[in-house]
Assembly symmetry: C2
Homo-oligomer: 340 residues x 2
């Protein structure tokens, strides 16, 4: 059996191997992924992001277990759940190992839940591309719900979370969360907002602040500034009922609020399908992925075609300030790119 | 006078206009930047990063003022300081306006300090490229020290901060900072660590934790695992004195610790020059910038050469799951890229 066939037969070891090959951009894995691609599109992709220290991993574990227990797919069987934990922890040495083991142990014994950690590998676009591939493989392998967890609230994490159908942003009480919320622009990407550690004394304040900011933002947006709705266009008030992101309180350590979060995620899925936004987001995701792949392939092909040392020479001329980076690139592209 | 000449003559309005043109990738600005490029290389680039809520902006303002007052350049005049505040706040609507005004007011009245805020514009690589251009323009315009402040501790922010000669990572007591520090891999990129809000009760713990982690990391690195020193190779123990990142305590609101931070930054500059790392980092920065520009230019040129609708057709075939993203890109590149 080929690797792809073994994955489809439910072989978890084969799946783990495929994911590693995709991460490392090995040809065998990429070809298997291409063969599997026609089977993708069934999974509900849920991006979960938030600053470190918000208890995100614990909450994701709880959520995975709850979704597995309560969500049914069309044929009445329990939904299978995959967790992709994207960890930009050790951009320089690779890692995400310890956390992975702890989580594995926590969720072990159920083949309907699958966990995969991914560490950033330095290159900015590389992690997003690898994540896309891993998610596709899990989708093709038949997982019904894929939770894509990213640590941090920077641009890269937001971009990765944004590739999902449903984006959940987690915060915790204290440490200027309200400011943080505005800063990271999360109001514009969150489909669901969660305040974890809701048993902390200041949780009420955080919940209230987030709710009032959301209301202000959505009122302003749908009345005064309809053009400012951002790239991922929300449905306009006239056409259909808009989705107002709910603000939920959870306590990951006890599991409080997890059923409500789980239900809200299912509700958002139904909303996406009814409103047509599901297809809009799918298309955006594919466009982003293809743009990234195009850049990567063109650069690799171009550099392979360069005469030995030509690109290094161009770098040298920039280092010695003879020419600016842009002019150097323009010169090298225009002066010999089409020799193939 | 050309825009570049006006910038060199010290015209601040011309400089602001140039920076806007660079941000918007307008041809006039990019050409002016190319003309100015030979004048770059004099500035000390200091990247400052850290999670939201650490009081980073206040500290950077204080630091800018202090550097301006105390650092002298070769001819004995006071160093000029530019601040580039990279704010991924509103990835979808653009922003960074309010904070900019507040800071402007704070630092107004001294033409030797210049502030520029930059908002993320969606595209992942775009902000890093624009930041590089803006920093080059300020460098050519004669600023002696350029502080590049990024909000957040995600991969994108780290990458931007890392393009500097000296990288300062700011944290604050509480909220699992120790974990955060490990998570973000900052031990591997920080040349200086700062614990701001050092008047908070738990500051001592945070300082101690960071110091002990650093010691462990550096001891392990220079003895047992010399090969694990990461991409930006620190000088080995044998060749020259290594730089052990100092952990400093500051209170931005009162200015406490700012003189020490300022001195440490100057000390790191001297270290870089003595050890030869200055040139190593310059080259890495230029290589990264050129790789990003190469990808961008190749993609633009390629898409411009495509027959109308061909790329969109490829996207459509991926959306309908007839072909995987990778295979679609391979097909489009191999089947007609070289018609120019």
């Amino acid at each position: 059996m080929s690797l792809a066939e073994r994955v489809l037969a439910g072989d978890r070891l084969a799946l783990a191997r495929l994911l590693t090959q995709i991460e490392n951009e090995e040809l065998e894995g990429l070809n298997a992924l291409a063969a599997l691609y026609s089977l993708t599109g069934g999974a509900h992709l849920v991006g979960i992001t938030g600053a470190p220290g918000t208890g995100k991993s614990t909450l994701v574990n709880r959520l995975a277990k709850h979704l597995r227990r309560t969500v049914e797919v069309v044929d009445g069987t329990a939904a299978t759940v995959a967790v992709v934990a994207v960890d930009p922890s050790s951009p320089f040495t690779g890692g995400a190992i310890l956390g992975d083991r702890i989580r594995m142990r926590d969720l072990a014994g159920d083949t309907g839940i699958f966990i995969r950690s991914m560490a950033s590998r330095g290159a900015l676009g590389g992690l997003a591309r690898a994540t896309a591939g891993v998610v596709q493989a899990l989708d093709a392998a038949g997982f019904d719900i894929i939770l894509i967890e990213t640590v941090g609230a920077g641009q890269a994490e937001v971009d990765i979370a944004r590739t999902a159908h449903t984006t959940v942003v987690i915060s915790a009480p204290g440490m200027g969360d309200e400011v943080q919320a505005i800063k990271a622009g999360i109001l514009e990407i969150a489909d669901l907002l969660v305040v974890n550690k809701a048993d902390l004394p200041s949780a009420e304040n955080t919940l209230r602040a987030l709710r009032s900011m959301l209301e202000t933002a959505y009122t302003a947006r749908s009345t005064t500034y309809p053009q400012a709705r951002g790239k991922r266009s929300k449905p306009s008030q006239e056409e259909k009922e808009a989705w107002l992101p709910p603000v939920l309180a959870t306590i990951a350590t006890t599991g409080e609020g997890v059923p409500e979060l789980s239900a809200a995620i299912s509700r958002h899925r139904a909303y996406l399908i009814d409103s047509g936004d599901w297809r809009v987001r799918e298309r955006e995701r594919i466009q982003n992925e293809m743009a990234s792949l195009l850049r990567e392939y063109l650069a690799l092909r171009f550099l392979a075609q360069q005469p030995e040392g030509r690109y290094e020479e161009a770098i040298e001329r920039v280092v010695t300030r003879q020419v600016s980076p842009r002019k150097a690139i323009e010169a090298i592209i225009e002066g010999g790119a089409d020799t193939s």
